[in-house]
């Protein structure tokens, strides 16, 4: 056998064996296992981490603040609603998983044209929405079993929450969610918001059910709403300061001012409606009803959510 014949034979073997080997590998493991993922939306990133597939993430958006290392470990593709087509493509993703707030539509279309599928999950602020998101994302990344386990855990959390809610007695606690205070004007969370949903889950009553969405309201509307508790987002330096808040005329005349009841919580945990929602609702419930009996399953653990008062 001459040298060139040997080389030819080797080439034939490689040519035949190569594709076979690849096919076998593909058949043996789920296709998704090596997919490079871009997560657009804080809740998507949170669920991907909870499913243990953070190793496949190659980029996250600015709203992916939980876990905190998500934005440290991955390139930031920008704000969810102002994504850049070339920026996303530069990460060579196989799949983009986004919430339905992601945009702009033109940029998403360009990413799709480049052959990268974009899977959109809804943002419904309901227990069923949370479970649906977990299962949908689990199926997308080929981790159905882990997703089922996580979904079951979350469902159990919501069930325990419901029991705890049923045991809460006394008069209903009126909660006013304040998204921001600008020039002393409060932007509050009305009906149909994630804030409204989590207040209900925690056994509270939204103090401004007649407001639709997040809206700025007048001082008098806040006095009329008579909240027992003011709920806000803890955003590092931007957190509301109780001294400053209850010094404002609108808030000074509310029942909340008497007990100085301001509850601040992590924004994504409170409003994201992801895997931590049962714990977040339980933390809020503890803050609203100090005497409430809350099952152990809803407190502590790695994903503990704290409400500061």
């Amino acid at each position: 056998m001459t040298l060139s014949e040997t080389a030819d034979m080797l080439r034939t073997i490689v040519l035949l064996a190569g594709p076979t080997l690849v096919t076998l590998l593909l058949a043996a493991s789920p296709v998704a296992a090596s997919e490079r993922l871009v997560a657009a939306g804080g809740v998507v990133t949170e669920i991907l981490y909870a499913l243990g597939v953070e190793g496949r993430i190659v980029g996250v958006d600015t709203t992916s603040v939980h876990p905190p290392r998500a934005l440290e470990d991955h390139p930031d593709v920008g704000y969810l609603r102002a994504l850049s087509a070339e920026g996303v493509l530069s990460l060579a993703p196989d799949r983009v998983i986004a919430t339905d707030a992601a945009g702009p539509a033109d940029a998403l279309d360009l990413v799709r044209q480049a052959g990268v599928p974009i899977d959109v999950v809804g943002e419904e602020p309901t227990p069923a929405g949370v479970v649906g998101r977990i299962r949908t994302i689990g199926a997308l990344v080929g981790e159905e079993a882990r997703a089922d386990a996580l979904a079951a855990e979350v469902e159990a959390g919501f069930a325990a929450l419901q029991e705890a809610r049923a045991r809460v007695d006394g008069s209903p606690v009126r909660v006013l969610f304040v998204l921001s205070l600008q020039n002393g004007r409060a932007m509050v969370g009305g009906a149909g918001t994630a804030a409204d949903a989590i207040i209900a889950l925690a056994g509270g009553v939204n103090a401004v059910p007649e407001v639709a969405g997040y809206k700025p309201v007048t001082d008098e509307a806040i006095i009329a709403a008579a909240p027992d508790v003011v709920l806000s987002i803890a955003r590092g330096d931007h957190a509301l300061d109780p001294d400053a808040l209850f010094a404002l005329p609108a808030f000074a005349l509310t029942p909340a001012a008497e007990g100085r009841r301001l509850v601040s919580m992590d924004g994504l945990a409170l409003l994201g409606f992801g895997p931590r929602t049962p714990q977040a609702a339980a933390a809020l419930m503890r803050a609203l009803h100090p005497g409430a009996e809350i099952p152990a399953v809803l407190s502590g653990g790695a994903d503990a959510v704290e409400a500061t008062r």
């Binding site: 702009p104 052959g115 969405g213």
Partner: protein, 368 residues
């Protein structure tokens, strides 16, 4: 406007007006050549640079293949160059040129260097129409039509800009004569009205619509597609092509309307043409790229300091510098925080404003 003459007189020994004029012409020619070089250089950079690293040789190969219709069409790199960067570059060139020329036209028409396209109501009209599309689109467009209301935004913005300009023009025109002063004042009133209506829209919009509105108003070339380009390019190219005809009229208008009329300029027709062209150019630009401020007001002003006030030079120079500024700003916007992207309005102001200030101070002798 005598500043330009004094400026060139200081640097060139000009004993007679003829000498000064010759020096000015030479300088204008040099300026135009320099601007062409700038725009070409920035365009090459814009095609070659971006979040996706593609070697220059490959970019050239992709462009050649795309031009001849051969070879790789479907690869990711090819799509980035021909599907994202190229339409974006062309839109940047067109929108930048159109905004700067629209600014120069407005300043010539109003004989006021602070005039900008916003004065004829086109921006506020376009902005209001865009707000209506974003906030009420879902209610106005029957879901059964299967059209994404957001896709109607460019059309809405264009029609809104054109409609508000026509209303303004009708208000300011009496017996075939258009009063520029009335137009200015009515423009401010209409702008305030549109602002109030936009405020109402912002109030009734939900969180998501409000954010869409905010991001749209910051401007971006990120949505550039061939389809969008096909719609706005004819409008913008027609506007740019029509401007040289108006240069003589604008030069005469500098002296005043009556004087221009006695010089043989069809003043009313020129005014109507300018207003319609500006509405079309700005309406199409706003529709395609959102509100990009600063280009229309500063580019012509800056060039007046450099090449002088002659509109025969100023208009093409504005088109070139506007195109260069927008393409350059977009290059910065999409590369500095890659893979994310900055709103382009921030970058145009951040690049242009300090340069403009430096130019102003230098003319006042504060810098060597």
């Amino acid at each position: 406007m005598s500043a330009g003459v004094a400026g060139s007189g200081a640097s060139v020994p000009a004993r007679t007006p003829a000498h000064a004029l010759a020096a000015r012409r030479a300088r204008a020619r040099l300026g135009l050549v320099a601007l062409v070089v700038l725009v070409v250089a920035l365009s090459i950079l814009a095609l070659g640079a971006g979040a996706v690293a593609i070697p220059p040789g490959r970019v050239v190969a992709i462009l050649r293949d795309a031009a001849t219709g051969a070879g790789e069409v479907a690869t990711r790199d090819a799509l980035v160059v021909t599907g994202i960067r190229l339409p974006r570059l062309l839109m940047g060139l067109l929108v930048g040129a159109a905004l700067a020329v629209a600014g120069a036209l407005m300043q010539g028409l109003f004989r006021n260097p602070l005039a900008d396209p916003g004065l004829v109501g086109v921006s506020s009209g376009a902005g209001l129409a865009a707000g209506v599309t974003i906030v009420l689109g879902e209610r106005l467009v029957p879901a059964s039509l299967g059209i994404d209301p957001f896709a109607l935004l460019p059309i809405g913005a264009f029609l809104g800009g054109l409609a508000s300009t026509l209303v303004l023009y009708a208000i300011a025109t009496r017996n075939g004569r258009t009063s520029i002063a009335t137009m200015l004042l009515a423009g401010i009133a209409l702008g305030a009205l549109a602002g109030a209506a936009s405020g109402v829209l912002a109030y009734v919009s939900d969180d998501r619509q409000l954010r869409d509105l905010t991001f749209w108003s910051l401007g971006s070339l990120g949505g550039a597609t061939w389809a969008k380009l096909a719609v706005i390019a004819p409008i913008l190219l027609a506007t740019l092509a029509a401007t040289p005809i108006l240069a003589r009229a604008l030069n005469a208008l500098v002296l005043g309307e009556a004087e221009a009329y006695h010089l043989g300029i069809a003043v009313e027709r020129a005014k109507a043409a300018i207003v319609v062209l500006v509405a079309a150019a700005v309406g199409a630009s706003v529709a395609a790229a959102g509100v990009i401020g600063f280009v229309g007001i500063v580019v012509p002003h800056l060039l007046r300091l450099v090449v002088g006030p002659d509109h025969r030079v100023l208009l093409p120079a504005s088109a070139l510098l506007g195109a260069g500024l927008l393409v350059g700003a977009d290059l910065v916007a999409r590369t500095v925080v890659a893979p994310a992207e900055l709103p382009i309005g921030i970058v145009t102001a951040a690049i242009g404003a300090p340069f403009f200030l430096w130019l102003l101070l230098r003319r006042r002798g504060l810098f060597p």
